[in-house]
């Protein structure tokens, strides 16, 4: 499938990635550190039939999540029908009352969704989490594929696999689908952002303008790009890589200097599309995750194709009882945290830690979910000249254009540490290309 030729080029590809600035910036404890995102040349390979199955499940999930967002910010039928308890919506930090009654163009909320999956030893795929706010990562396998093709053309002549370089095309289609007239821009907070490489790369590949907040301006109730002459050019769609909180100092965090004052008012009036829609945090909340299979049944009347990892909500008495009885075999997640933080394993706690944690759990049961630890199917990585098994997940990208589109690739992240189950790139680790073989 892949031959030694490709693997021999690992170092070359990593050097090229470094030269192209493929870095991952981490801002922590008030210091900014940029680190390389190490690439492992052994691809994750997915058979076409298997990917068809994933594709069906991913489309179904993202369609349901979009319907959920529309419902939550309007009639809230799913709450009135008692499928999801009211508390889980209104106590979530992801819920934004400012989005009530706002209808995004074509009712699309999550234009770009990054859905994280893992494969168990039983070969079964599980959804670990949904990322519907500003999911990043597509650019890494894109550029890695590009560089691998260049350094080992032989490999790609011999293997029939789906070309993943069409991501830019899919993204362009997705952005154009909701553009209300004018330019399409990619809004970046700037070079200190963890995913700045990605912002610039996607802008280059899609032909969208890469802009920062100070280059956009609201006049009357429209959004404009201020060009080099100081002239105003209308903007019809903004793929914003800035979180909701910092998007608009006049509507959200007033301290934000990277946002655009009043952009939200323009959006509210339907005069610009924001990609993804503000307020999506309610749908990828870890507490709401539990309810996604129920959403699929509720909105689509279908059985979910893809399963969640077995999850318990201590909020429910029955589940609390289970969690207390099986504490040592579960992983506990704080619903308010992201990026691999706020995740603890029952088995790795000291007696004191456990006692403290249980007290907190009983006091604020809504704050946590508990999950069975999935026995991951390890995949091989290169360590020197050896191959060693490591934990890995897969971030699949689902784009919502005039129809849902699943990118036939994805970001495979692995943990360097043989004992770690956490593969988030904010915590080190590396990535692989994801090959989807063609029929």
């Amino acid at each position: 499938m892949y031959d030694l030729d490709l693997l021999e080029h690992t170092d070359t590809v990593n050097e090229l990635l470094a030269r192209y600035g493929v870095k991952f910036g981490i801002y922590k404890n008030n210091t900014f550190r940029e680190q390389l995102f190490p690439f492992d040349a052994i691809p994750r390979v997915i058979e076409p039939e298997e990917f068809d199955y994933l594709e069906r499940g991913l489309k179904q999930r993202v369609v349901a999540l979009n319907l959920f967002l529309k419902d939550i910010y309007s009639d809230k039928k799913i709450v009135k029908d008692k499928v999801i308890p009211e508390d889980f919506i209104f106590a979530s930090s992801g819920y934004m009352a400012e989005c009530e009654g706002v209808r995004p163009v074509k009712d699309i909320y999550s234009h770009i969704s990054g859905i994280d999956l893992v494969q168990g030893k039983d070969k079964k795929w599980y959804i670990l989490e949904d990322n519907l706010r500003v999911p990043s990562g597509a650019s890494y396998p894109m550029i890695a594929r590009e560089l691998c093709r260049r350094s080992s053309p032989q490999t790609f002549r011999d293997t029939r696999l789906e070309d993943n370089r069409n991501y830019a095309e899919l993204l362009r289609r997705t952005m154009d689908n909701v553009n209300v007239g004018g330019h399409t821009v990619i809004l970046t907070p700037g070079r200190y952002n963890a995913a700045y490489f990605e912002h610039s790369y996607l802008a280059e590949k899609t032909g969208a303008h890469l802009v920062n907040g100070s280059e956009l301006k609201v006049v009357d109730d429209r959004l404009y790009y201020v060009n080099f002459d100081g002239k105003l050019e209308r903007v019809g769609a903004v793929y914003r890589r800035i979180s909701d909180e910092y998007l608009d100092p006049m509507n959200f965090n007033p301290e934000s200097v990277i946002g655009i004052p009043h952009i939200y008012d323009v959006y509210r009036k339907g005069n610009v599309a924001l990609i993804n829609a503000p307020g999506n945090g309610i749908a990828d909340d870890k507490g709401i995750y539990y309810f996604v299979p129920k959403m699929i049944r509720y909105y689509l009347g279908e059985e979910p194709v893809l399963s969640n990892a077995p999850t318990y909500l201590p909020f429910y008495e029955e589940d609390m009882k289970y969690v207390l009885e099986h504490f040592d075999t579960l992983v506990l997640k704080d619903v308010a945290e992201a990026g691999g933080y706020g995740v603890v394993f029952g088995s790795s706690m000291s007696a004191q830690q456990k006692e403290d944690f249980l007290a907190l759990l009983k006091k604020e049961p809504r704050r946590f979910i508990a999950q069975e630890v999935i026995d991951f199917l390890d995949i091989d990585i290169l360590e020197g000249s050896e191959t060693v098994p490591r934990k890995a997940d897969l971030r699949a990208f689902v784009l919502m254009a005039e129809e849902p589109l699943v990118w036939k690739s994805g970001l495979t992240r692995f943990s360097r540490n043989p004992d770690s189950f956490i593969v988030n790139s904010s915590q080190g680790g590396g990535f692989k290309d994801t090959w989807v073989l063609s029929h």
Binding site: E100, P249, D265
Partner: protein, 266 residues
């Protein structure tokens, strides 16, 4: 029912020149089943174009900016309202009850309000309106009106612990208590007959209708109040919100005048 003439005059002076500013004004009296807006005139200076919109709580808003050097910013809204067309306002949206019954922002209670609540919870009787009025009366006894001890960012809990504050603080504490009682409650900005500053009170949902309670004055809202905006707390419906480049120190003055005759209206 009263015909009321109003004038809302807000002025911000800068100690140094401001290069530019952006503003959002939620300053237009609401048109509701209990209040009809009959005349309206808005003057914003320095003169600049603005756009209109509506927020998620149903408040009308104006947003715009000044792109030239200026040393003051002022908004004057005048007009005429007929207030007290009915005693209450029917629910506009079926989801309002949910939106306004959860702890939020400045109204979120902590230990102080929670223990106060414990002393009251068993004494509540009757409809949500009756319960709300009971809580308002209690607050009148246990909280004192005093200016300049709190500010716009003071939370219900902080004000409660202090034991003193202004209309905003009364409203936040009453909202916190009503929500603990399971009664949807919302913050209202507006104007009260007479001279002074803008006012704030509370609306609570009882039997599918919103009733106005003015806890700072311990009275039921009838036809002496002009309602402007609503929200979950004061921050949702701030009458003005601005962002200034430069300007140095800002001094804001607000003058409100509401009367039953045109006289006294400058």
């Amino acid at each position: 029912m009263k015909k009321l003439y109003f004038e809302y005059d807000m002025r911000i002076s800068y100690s140094e020149a401001a290069q530019s500013c952006r503003y959002t004004m939620k300053c237009i009296p609401a048109g509701t089943d209990r209040q009809r807006l009959e005349k309206l005139d808005i003057r914003i200076q320095p003169k600049a174009d603005y756009a209109e919109g509506e927020d998620s709580f149903g408040n009308r808003l104006l947003f715009g900016g000044v792109d030239e050097v200026h040393d003051f910013f002022s908004v004057c809204v005048t007009g005429q309202v007929t207030a007290g067309l009915s005693g209450a306002e029917p629910v506009r949206r079926g989801t309002d009850a949910m939106l306004y019954r959860h702890p939020h922002g400045l109204t979120r209670p902590a230990e102080g309000i929670c223990s106060y609540w414990e002393t009251l919870r068993t004494k509540l009787r009757g409809t949500p309106l009756e319960q709300g009025i009971f809580l308002m009366h209690r607050l009148r006894q246990d909280f004192a009106y005093e200016q300049n001890v709190t500010d716009i960012s003071t939370t219900a809990e902080e004000a409660f612990r202090l034991g003193r504050g202004v209309c905003q603080d009364y409203a936040h504490i009453l909202i916190a208590l009503c929500r603990m009682a399971g009664i949807p409650a919302r913050y209202v900005t507006g104007m009260l007959i007479g001279e002074g500053r803008s006012h704030a009170w509370v609306e609570i949902l009882s039997e599918d209708q919103w009733f106005g309670l003015d806890p700072a004055n311990d009275l039921l809202v009838e036809d002496s109040h002009i309602k402007i905006g609503v929200g979950r707390d004061a921050a949702d419906c701030a009458i003005n919100r601005g962002l200034v480049m430069g300007g140095g120190r800002q001094t804001q003055t607000v003058r409100v005048h509401v009367s039953e005759t045109c006289e006294g209206k400058s």
